[in-house]
Point group: C2
Chain length 325, copies 2
Amino acid sequence: MGGDFAPRNVVAGAVEAMREAKDRLEVLFVGPQSVVQEELHRLTENNLNHQIVNAPSIITMDDGAMAAVKEKKDSSIAVGVSLHKEGAADAFVSAGNTGAVMSASTLILGRIEGIGRPTIGAFFPSEMGVCLLLDAGANVDCRPQHLYEFAVMGTIYAREMLMLPNPTVGLLSIGEESSKGNDLTREAYQLLAKSRLNFIGNVAGRDILKGKASVVVCDGFVGNVVLKFAEGVLDLLKTKFRNHAAKNVFSKIWVGMMSRTLRSVMKDFDYQEYGGVPLLGVNGVSIIGHGKSTPKAIKNMILKAEEMVRKNITGSIRDSLAAAK
Amino acid sequence: MGGDFAPRNVVAGAVEAMREAKDRLEVLFVGPQSVVQEELHRLTENNLNHQIVNAPSIITMDDGAMAAVKEKKDSSIAVGVSLHKEGAADAFVSAGNTGAVMSASTLILGRIEGIGRPTIGAFFPSEMGVCLLLDAGANVDCRPQHLYEFAVMGTIYAREMLMLPNPTVGLLSIGEESSKGNDLTREAYQLLAKSRLNFIGNVAGRDILKGKASVVVCDGFVGNVVLKFAEGVLDLLKTKFRNHAAKNVFSKIWVGMMSRTLRSVMKDFDYQEYGGVPLLGVNGVSIIGHGKSTPKAIKNMILKAEEMVRKNITGSIRDSLAAAK
């Protein structure tokens, strides 16, 4: 029931995912039985491997982050995460209330030993491919140790899921020298420098898109501001092009022809391709999707979850923290 | 002698400024006499109102922020700011070492009474025109009172220089509610809410470009990260378009035709239009330009300085702080 277009897009995306990964995927649809049933009826094929698990109540965007673990224990978020905890499901994905998914996942699944703060990242297109920025809003006030943990988790994700052999880690700051930045970054710099990570030092805002580092760590306040700003850039460009098109008939024709090129250029900026962002640091696989998720985004989110399970990302994080001790 | 293309671009831009504002502008060129003389010789016309003030030493980008006030007191930055302090000049502009210009301006001109931290802002294009973000990197660690001061100065600048009758002020954060954000923003929210400013509450990263507020305040760490990220967006778009053009001859033709449209669309992103950013909060007018300043950027920077003097921005800030007491 998560996201602005649930259950339609969620069900449609899940059906696509099952078609694409037939032999290695079973989907448990968690939500009000009849609503999901009806939606599935419109779409599904006979030979797709799925079940419906009834969860009568719904967490809306207006509900607080603790709703799933306090008032609405029979919501799709609470029931779904619990299924994962009990082992009936190997992963949980949702395009619903981000705060609620995060708290439910953290509290029900628990944190991996050695992780103080589970984190959600954001994927940025870069000149070198993709850059994973952590934290993107889950943890507003961070200590240096948290940034180090983000770097460990980001490195594993980048290596296993983005297929980068020895991912570089950058610390988001405002100048290259270790002395530049604020108290948090200066202390985090020292922790990262003496770690076994492939730490390349401070990186600036522009280096995110340059792909100077594959993994960039920062506190969730800064990360969220940058993420939202990036979304704003795309909106502004669209508006500017539209206004330009309105000027006269010739501009209109140009802009019409240009939009195809622009779309192709912008493809890397498209969150649908990434599907969602993993909550790293919990005992399990929990992926959070955009509220406006399209069927394609949902499909990619589910396939990403299956891949994270198959590659045992959670286990790698656990091992890596144990080894660093 | 400031910037990557000094003295050529600096002199060329100043000559253009004098041509454009003939009757109300006299330029004092501060730098090594012979170098400036030679450059001027190539360009100047007889009836332009200017002088050369000798300043033999040069502050490079490698010099520390204190160089102008400590080791190199005969540099163009130190001499130029001192001319302003003594009243021989009404304003100072430079495309040189940002840190050096800031320290020299702050220490030589002094802070306006009631201002704890002078600030430099950045101009962002927005759907509503332009958004002034303060602080853009001068003050990494800020207290709530500093953010309030930035809001006062930004409001006056937006009203007098950007011609906005009653500029709105937003506090950069990660959610609309006053409780969202970090300790700094939560406390600053209270200060701004009880002020006489046109405070509209928290704004998110994407609201900068939406123009939800004319003035957006934040600490200099966050502001600088966003500013540098925005510069990176333009670089990435250029690279993407170039790569697209390389694909085949048809894309090449399209991209060629598109680049004109893109340039027009991007005009608002162009720092040259703004010329430079004022250091607000010092007793005087000091404008800092981009190291890569073109003659056009230098020209606009000088004209902006003349306008700030004519409109007595410094006096308005002084009065406004006195009234708020």
